[in-house]
């Protein structure tokens, strides 16, 4: 279970990734990040046959 993002956690994340964002920008991004993390959690929760081959080279024909 992922923790809800905070300004401090986004600050650390942005610094680690070399993203020179202001605190105001990070604060404004909190709702978007929370929604993104929810989507990624839902992705992890999808019951998948782990033998399912991912579409890594996408060409229909």
């Amino acid at each position: 279970m992922m923790k809800a993002p905070t300004l401090a956690s986004l600050r650390a994340f942005a610094d680690l990734h070399g993203l020179p964002w202001s605190d105001a920008d990070l604060q404004a991004a909190l709702p978007s990040v929370a929604r993104a993390l929810e989507m990624l959690a839902s992705l992890e929760a999808v019951p998948l046959d782990e033998d399912a081959e991912p579409t890594t080279h996408f060409r229909i024909v």
Partner: protein
Amino acid sequence: MRELVWTPVTDLARMIATKEVSPVEVVRAYLDRIERLDGTLHAFITVCADGALEAARAAETALAAGQPLGALHGVPIGLKDLVDTLGVRTTAGSRILADRVPAKDATVTARLTGAGAIVLGKLNMHEFAYGPEGLNEHYGQTRNPWDAAVARVPGGSSSGSGAAVAAALVPAALGSDTGGSIRIPASLCGITGLKPTYGRVSRAGVLPLSWSMDHVGPMARSAADCALLLGAMAGYDPADPTTSVLPVPDYTAALGRDVKGLRVGVLRGMFADGLAPELRDALAAAVHELQRLGAIVDEVTLAHTANVQAAAFAIVGSEALAYHAASMRTRPQDYQRDVRERLFTGAFVSGAHYLRAQQIRALVRAEVDEALARRDVLLAPTTPIGATPLGERGTRVDGAAVDVRAALLSLTRPFNLSGHPACSVPCGVTRDGFPLGMQIVGRPFDEITVLRVADAWQRATDWHTRRPLEETA
């Protein structure tokens, strides 16, 4: 002159070829209209007036000399401003690429101009194609031409393409579609937009949002016009390794045929939930009309589409960030806020998330293939809502709160993941008179059948012939 700009591409091409109208006259008519209306609509980022007139004069000379003519000889078009044009700046609607002038044409530009089309200009878009509303802070906000009183979203990301075609600033345009960016503005602006099969049209020279999800396709006022454009630009391109070697059929052969005996699967489940009531009625009427025309209709549900939004976010989020990583580190303030935040969220997608999303993608594709194994096309709404006021992030449908951005993307994204061709056609209007669209989805590389159904629908109905409110006043 006013009616000339509303002439279908198919008729314009014929009228030019038979010298009923001159390419110069046609180009001037559109340039006059752009001059008159684009100060309000902001559909264009760059208008190529001099280049277009020069090309029109050359087209006229070629006609007079009896030279062989391409299928689009003398027909003006607009290009979304992420399609490269030799010597004409191509910005992707961004400040970051504001001064970018390509040294060569995109393959689609070269093919369309090779068929005789004349580029009128470069069309506005959601910055870097990363948004379904069509928002742009840098080049003026494109407005939905159907808006009479309140500024409404045109839909995106191909917002300028949708608005320009709907307002007859161009007879046809190119868009790109990563999560619905051709079909969403087509739906909200009341025009026709075709996302071809992944691999049918080259992406070489088209600035990417997400390499594995991007599709390039035509936007026009009818399926017949889209068929003509698709034929001129489709086909294998060594510069795009994902293009198919399958031969390009004559898409105009799809036109004028009936749909008797064709099997149409109406998508249920998430495609039928949370729709504006007027859209539910419009779809029911469409099903009835297709049955009256002889189609055999049943219903079908796609179970894996419930996971599409999360999978699409993981794929597009990480691919888009990969492209923008350097600029996000050095010029974050040069992105508009919503796009900057969206790119930032891509940094939370791990490699495992990405591959899990690609597993879901394989399942979605197999499921759509299976649904189409026993049917010729699938039918679904394009967007669950019509155009909302600019700046409105939420709306209500049947009393329920709805996030506008999520709603706009919800029904189109499945076919970006699966790669199947899908064409949005107008099918009704909201209570306030704003357009609504439905999409016709076909088997891979079977654009012929998709266009056949869309064309039959448009010959039986008049939704696609309606004009924005100021035109009918």
